[in-house]
């Protein structure tokens, strides 16, 4: 017992010294569990996050937009993979994680349960959803777990193009015909509040945050990140000539931040618990893709086995 205590104290001191924890180092079991849960949820979000955008690949308005969107969606698949790999360094099995997603046991970011009815939504996702994700991920580049931190550095490098391509889409629409500008405004109206919810519950309602902050898994609180995002994004909306759908949004000179209205947390919890507009559709798309890909995984196995057998045969003949 005392020995265990000492280990935990030593671990805390190590982390407090801004040292990175690597896979084979001793770590509290709860640190490991928290990370597996967080990293796998993050991975699932990257994977499910491909769906709302994939919806528009075939209907992108130009070849330039289409290649960009394809590259972005391909990046998200890659990001999911980096993250599953990071989770595996903690002893998790990727197939177990995937099955938890497919069975509904594991969560992914609620934002992807919102629909993308127009092309402008693709712009809004890149600008706002990727923007919010970047704020979170930039913080996670400094997370205490080495493999997670390295995956985040890689992801952040790639992600900045995502946000820029989204903003560019909205710039074109905002400068376009009145109908196009209206489309951009409606997309902002749809995505603004859900994007703010991406940072999670307010600090006083986020019971696990304190421990994650102490272990330096998280480096900033939900409310801090949300405020940073708002402060950065409001001027970008003004540049587009679009109106942020929040009557209470106002620059507070004293705080040096924007004040903003109350988030509808009831909506947030409804979507998390499965009642968003697209929860069922997203899960079904993932399950169908997984099942439809089964033959590819089997064929790759069969081929690898055949090649290995042939090689062994050649070896024994020689």
């Amino acid at each position: 017992m005392t020995k265990e205590m000492n280990l935990e104290e030593r671990f805390q001191a190590y982390v407090d010294g801004e040292n990175k924890v690597e896979p084979k180092d001793w770590m509290p079991e709860k640190y490991r569990k928290t990370l597996v849960r967080q990293i796998s949820q993050h991975a699932h979000s990257e994977v499910v996050g491909m769906l709302p955008e994939a919806n528009w690949i075939t209907r992108a308005p130009s070849l330039r937009r289409k290649v960009a969107l394809l590259a972005k969606v391909q990046d998200e698949a890659g990001h999911g993979l980096y993250l599953y790999s990071a989770a595996e360094t903690l002893g998790a099995d990727r197939m177990d994680l995937v099955e938890d997603l497919l069975s509904g046991k594991a969560k992914y970011s609620s934002i992807f349960n919102y629909p993308t009815p127009t092309w402008a939504d693709i712009g809004a996702i890149g600008w706002l959803v990727d923007g919010a994700a970047i704020a979170n991920q930039v913080m996670l580049c400094r997370t205490s777990y080495g493999p997670y931190s390295r995956a985040m550095v890689r992801i952040c490098k790639e992600e900045s193009f995502h946000q820029r391509q989204g903003y560019e889409i909205l710039m074109s629409l905002a400068k376009g015909t009145p109908a196009q500008k209206k489309m951009a405004q409606e997309a902002l109206n749809r995505w603004w509040w859900p994007s703010l919810m991406m940072f999670g519950p307010t600090d006083d309602n986020s019971p696990n945050s304190a421990q994650s902050m102490k272990w330096k898994i998280k480096r900033k609180s939900n409310d801090e990140l949300r405020q940073e995002f708002i402060d950065k994004t409001v001027p970008q909306a003004e540049y587009l000539g679009l109106t942020v759908p929040d009557k209470n949004l106002k620059w507070n000179e004293e705080r040096g931040h924007y004040d903003f209205g109350t988030i509808d947390w009831e909506e947030f919890y409804q979507v998390i618990s499965g009642n968003g507009k697209c929860n069922k559709q997203r899960m079904k798309a993932r399950q169908d893709a997984h099942n439809a890909g089964a033959w590819v995984r089997e064929a790759a196995n069969a081929y690898a086995e055949k090649q290995a057998a042939r090689k062994a045969e050649e070896g024994s003949a020689a």
Binding site: E22, K24, D25, W26, A71, Q74, D75, G78, L81, Y82, S85, E88, T89, D93, R94, M95, E99, L102, S103, R150, A151, R154, E158, Q287, H290, N291, A294, R297, E298, A300, N301, Y303, A304, Q307, A308
Partner: protein, 96 residues
Amino acid sequence: MSSKDNWKIWEIFIRSRNGLSHKHVGSLHAPDAAMAIKNARDVYTRRSEGISIWVVPSDEITASSPDESEPLFTPADNKVYRHPTFYEIPDEVGHM
């Protein structure tokens, strides 16, 4: 739902350009080495990050244990005489 595949985990090393060593960049799953290289190309070199890929099955790597790091690595800490700054050479001798 499909049962588990038996794809191995591979560690991926990339040489970013000639003159530099291969560097560990992460891992991935693949049924064999040839597929591991194909996957590594898609996952780790989408933005011209490399010109050469090594793939190594994770379970073929033998690593030193963090528990042994003290006996393994601390003996070097007090051998300052292995570093050039340990030796005092007058400035007039020039760069050495």
